[in-house]
Structures are given as C-alpha cells and as structure tokens.
C-alpha cells in the first residue's frame, strides 16, 4: 500500500513537471481533474467511462490471477458488442435484452476459449493467440457494420439502432442499469476468488505454476475455463455498452477510448486482486474523464492523463521489482 502511495506521488510530480513545461499551473490542472471527475457535472461522465473500464479490468484480471495474460480483450469486447446488436435487432422486449446480453457473453467466451485451446492443444503461447485472434474479430465487426448490418440511412460505418424496447434503461446521461451488471460481476469475482476452491486453484496457479501442477491442478482445463470467463465478461461489457446510448454499434467506438488497455493496466496495477482492480479501474476512469475538464480549464491536452497512467504503472512495476530484489538478494 505504501509503495502505491509513493509511486503515485512520484507520477504526480512528474506530471507536474510536464504541466509546468507546457506553461500551465500544475495545481490548477490537478484541481481541474479532481473537480472535473467528481464534481456534479463530471461524476456522470466518470461513471459512464468507469463501467466499461471496470468491466474490462475484471475480465482481464480473471486469468491474470493465475498468471495468464489475455491480450485479446479488444476482440472479445467487440465481438460481444456486435453479437448483442445482431440478436437485439431481431428480438423485442425484456426477453430481447436478456437474449442480447447472453449472446454477447457467449460470443466473447467462445472466442476467448478458442484462444485458450490454441495454447493447450496446439502449443502456441496464450499471450500470442489471444492477441492475434483479436484483430480478425475487429475486422469482422468492421466488415459487418459496413455491409450486411449497415444502417442504410447513414453514411457512417454503424449498425442500425436497437428498437426502443431492447435498450437498457438509462439512469442519467450515459449510465444504464448495466452498471449493476458490472458491479455484480465484480462481486462474483471477489467471492469466487476468496471463498471457493476454483478461486483458490486459480491463485495457487498464479503463485507457482509448477507447484500447482504438483498439487494436481489440471492446467489446460483451468486455462480454458479462465479464458472463457474472461472473454465472457469482456463480451458482456461490449453488450452493455451497445445496449446503452447511442444504442448501436459504431465501428471503432469501443477501441478508441482504450477501455481494454486501461482495464489491463488497472488489473496489472492491482495484481488482479478483486477490490484493488476495482479501485484502480475507477481511479483510471476518473483520471481520464477529469482530463477532459482539465483540457477545458487549462488548455493542456487531455492526453496528459494517459501519460500519467502509464508512468504510474512503470514506476510501480519498477518499485515492486526493487522490493522483491531487496527481499531476496540473488
């Protein structure tokens, strides 16, 4: 905990230097981020941004807990979103909403499971299979919204809008009841992680893969299971996002905001600890949405907050490495 505090402070100091270099007052800029993220106007934006970021962070934390890195979150997210739209456009009512959410979850889960099987059966590292499979999924979605599923009334690469009864009820601008789904997912992850044999097996594998094998844990089966859960949640996040405003799939809309990579950073920062991942993801979401307020107040480009996030992780990774080295001088 102290390490996190110190590295956070170091990242903030470096950010202040960058801010000063662009001619802005660092304190004003930081104050603008805080008020922008949590003020009465900003809190809605923060929440709207936090939902997908927290969802992706937890999705990627699940295999990370066992030391497996899923780099294909973007593909699973997009595939879940496009599947939810495909189902949602042809159904109606509450049943339609449920069907769309299930379709998104299943699509993500299956796709991630394929990547897992590529490792367990074909011997290609998971890191690579998840990453490589991500691009075809994004291309497929890009193709679908340009041709078969294209909104005929628009020149943009986007799908048609979902019918009004197949939309998640809104709870303010940009936030839907999908928020509760994501919160539930975090809660389930926390309980499974702390209280069940499955969670224990996962953590043991994370501590030491060879020890886990010795203890009789079936690694291939665990890999497929964890990846299916990870991809399923990523797919659900995609479905939740497109079932909210603007109720359609727009090409690139799930990629440009960097939900996946920021989520992965949050999961890495917290070492996939459930509560830690949640806190880190909300923190990053607040930082990003506060960045817009900072840009309005000080004319400093909001990309600065992305720099701060990455610097924080680099400092933290270095600090953890240093602590480990001190403890066990090799």
């Amino acid at each position: 905990m102290r390490t996190v505090g110190v590295t956070l402070l170091a990242a903030l100091v470096l950010g202040a230097v960058l801010l000063a270099a662009t001619g802005a007052n660092p304190l004003d800029a930081y104050w603008a981020i805080v008020t922008g993220a949590f003020g009465p106007d900003g809190i809605q934006d923060t929440l709207a941004y936090a939902v997908p970021v927290v969802g992706m962070a937890v999705a990627l934390a699940i295999p990370l807990r066992a030391g497996m890195v899923n780099l294909g979150g973007e593909g699973q997210l997009v595939l879940g979103a496009i599947s939810a739209i495909a189902v949602g456009l042809h159904t109606s009512g509450v049943l339609g909403i449920v069907a769309a959410l299930v379709a998104g979850t299943l699509a993500g889960a299956l796709y991630a499971a394929v990547a897992a099987v590529c490792e367990t059966r074909l011997g290609v590292p998971l890191l690579v299979t998840t990453l490589l499979l991500s691009y075809p999924a994004m291309s497929l979605a890009a193709y679908l919204v340009r041709f078969p599923m294209r909104d005929a009334g628009s020149s943009l690469p986007q799908s048609e809008q979902l019918p009004p009864d197949v939309r998640l009820p809104a709870m303010g601008t940009g936030v839907t009841v999908g928020l509760f789904l994501i919160v539930a997912a975090v809660a389930v992850y926390a309980v499974v992680d702390a209280r069940t044999p499955a969670g224990f097996e996962t953590r043991v594998t994370g501590w030491g893969p060879r020890f886990a094998q010795y203890a009789g844990i079936d690694r291939p089966a665990l890999t497929v299971r964890l990846l299916a859960c990870s991809g399923g949640l990523a797919g659900l996040v995609g479905a939740v996002v497109v079932l909210g405003f603007p109720y359609r799939f727009i090409d690139g809309a799930l990629i440009t905001p960097q939900y996946t990579w920021i989520g992965l950073l949050a999961a890495l920062l917290a070492a996939a600890n459930p509560l830690g991942t949640l806190v880190a993801a909300v923190f990053f979401a607040a930082l990003t949405s506060g960045g817009f307020a900072m840009e309005r107040a000080t004319q400093v480009p909001r990309e600065l907050t992305a720099v701060l996030q990455a610097v924080l992780i680099i400092f933290l990774a270095a600090a953890t490495g240093l602590l480990r080295k001190r403890r066990s001088p090799a």
């Binding site: 075809p136 291309s139 960097q258 992305a306 720099v307 990455a310 610097v311 992780i313 490495g321 240093l322």
Partner: protein
C-alpha cells in the same frame, strides 16, 4: 495478380516489422522478453517526423528517430534490468505511454490532432540501384526502395554475424541461456542486457523512421497499428534466429501486400486486413506442431 509490384510493396510493408523483430530477437537472445517494440516504434516515428520537419533534413530526421528510440528504451532497461520490474507489465505500460506521449506531443508541438502532414515535410527518397534497376522483374522488385529497406537487410546479416561469429554474440547467447553461468565466467549480465535493449531501441527508431518517412510522409496517432506486436510474434515464429525472423517478416509482408491486392478483385478491405494475422497464427500452429513432433521422436 502476382507481379513485381506485389513483391515490391511487400518489401516496403515488411521493413518496419523486420527492424522491430530484429530488436526483439536481439533482446530475446539475451533473455529479455521485450514487448515494448510497438511503443518504441511509435516514438521513433514521431521523432523522425519532428526531426525532419524542424531541421529540414530527412537524414537528421532518421537520426532523431534512432536517438529517440534509444532514449525511450532506457525506461525498459532501467526498470527491468536494474530494478527488476516485470517485463510484460512494463512493456504494456511503455506501449500505452508511447500512445499518450505522442498524442500529447502532436498537439503541443504541431498544434494539430490526429495526423500531422505537410507538403514541406521531407520523406526518404527511393534509391535506384544502377545495374539492378534495369533488370526486368528483379529490378522492379529490388530497386526503388528507401535506403532503410536495404539497411534492414544489412541489419539481418549483421545480427547473424554478431550472434554467431563474434565473441559478443557468444556471451550474449550464454546470458540468454544460463545467466548465472555467464555471470560466474565474468560476463556482466546487466551490461549486455542494457546493450541489447538500447540497440533494440535504435532499431525500433529505424522501424518508426521507415514507417513515417519511408512508407508515407506523415505522423498519425497510433500509426504503428499493431506492427510492433506482429514483430513480437515474428520473433517467436522465427525462433529469434536472424534469418528465421527475416522469413517471418517476409511472410507477414507478403500476406499484407497480397491482401491489399485481393481488394482489387472485390474482396472487402476488412477481410484482407485480417489476413496477415490469420496467416501468422497458422504459421505458428505449423511450426509448434513440428517442434512437438520432433520432441516426441527424440523421447521415444
């Protein structure tokens, strides 16, 4: 369908990947898993454009790219080698830092957003090799590229010579295989790993320069678009062997160029965009299956 122009465009497309993959192979050989190639390449691309723009000389632009790539890779060297931070965590963060930093800088330095291009921005000129340029087909394929394309081939040969015909290469491979053994023989593991990461940074700088000043003459946000990741895969596919990495990069370049060509006969762009990744994945399946088969044969 298959003509000289296809191979010529494949050569241009594969050069940034080849440079980055050589960087990855070099690091791999010294036991450093470097996935920060993507971000370092992006920084190189930005620095190349900025350097060329402010000095008016494309050569100083390339030099700036190399220096920026090297300087940027110091982050990984210090945080991973000296401080012992996890290479994967650092790699992901370094890549995101590059996206944030270049998007930040394109706005503060050039005052635009998204893409910076200007008619006055100097790019690399294509070189016509006397003698070869006039040979039909061969000339069309091999001649008329930027200097960096030829430099990348030279870099493959140099890396091969360095790794297998020079004491440095021997020590480097020793460090990659048994760091403790190498250290006990008096080889400085830290110094060699710093060396490969910084040299890798320089190579990624060249990759970025070719991307932003050779293939096109502009900088746009996130313009590396996954090439650094493909380089990571190419290292794996080529087993970190210089010529193996070259073959993997050629495969990827051909898939990209051929996919682009297929658009001409009506295949949607999205299908051909995905082709290089699918081809790479299939190649990985084949190569890992072959290795496992040879392993089972050894054990029986």
């Amino acid at each position: 369908m298959i003509d000289a122009a296809l191979f010529s465009s494949a050569l241009g497309a594969l050069t940034p990947i080849l440079f980055a993959a050589l960087a990855g192979a070099l690091c791999q050989r010294a036991g450093v898993f470097n996935i920060s190639l993507e971000g370092t390449m992006l920084v190189g691309a930005f620095a190349g454009v900025a350097g060329s723009w402010y000095t008016g000389s494309v050569w100083l632009g390339v030099l700036t790219a190399v220096l920026a790539g090297t300087a940027y890779s110091v982050i990984l060297a210090v945080a991973h080698v000296s401080l012992g931070g996890d290479a994967i965590v650092l790699g992901v963060a370094i890549n995101l830092l590059a996206v944030g930093l270049t998007s930040f800088l394109i706005r503060t330095v050039f005052g635009t957003r998204g893409t910076f291009s200007d008619p006055a921005l100097r790019g690399l000129e294509s070189v016509h090799i006397p003698g070869i340029a006039d040979i039909p087909f061969v000339g069309e394929v091999l001649s008329g590229h930027s200097v960096l394309v030829y430099a990348s081939w030279l870099a493959v040969v140099l890396l091969a010579v360095l790794l297998y015909r020079h004491p440095w290469g021997l020590r480097l491979r020793g460090i990659g295989e048994r760091p403790e053994a190498a250290a006990s023989l008096g080889v400085s593991v830290t110094r060699y790993r710093y060396g490969v990461i910084l040299a890798g940074g320089a190579l990624c700088g060249l990759a970025g320069a070719q991307l932003a000043l050779g293939n096109v003459t502009l900088f746009s946000e996130n313009m590396t678009a996954g090439r650094g990741w493909i380089a990571v895969v190419a290292v794996m596919l080529g087993r970190a062997l210089p010529y193996g990495v070259l073959a993997a990069a050629v495969l990827f370049g051909l898939a990209e160029a051929f996919g682009f060509r297929l658009q001409g006969i009506g295949l949607p762009q999205q299908a051909t965009d995905a082709a290089p990744y699918v081809v790479t994945l299939l190649a990985l399946f084949v190569s890992s299956a072959r290795i496992r088969r040879s392993r089972t044969r050894e054990s029986t």
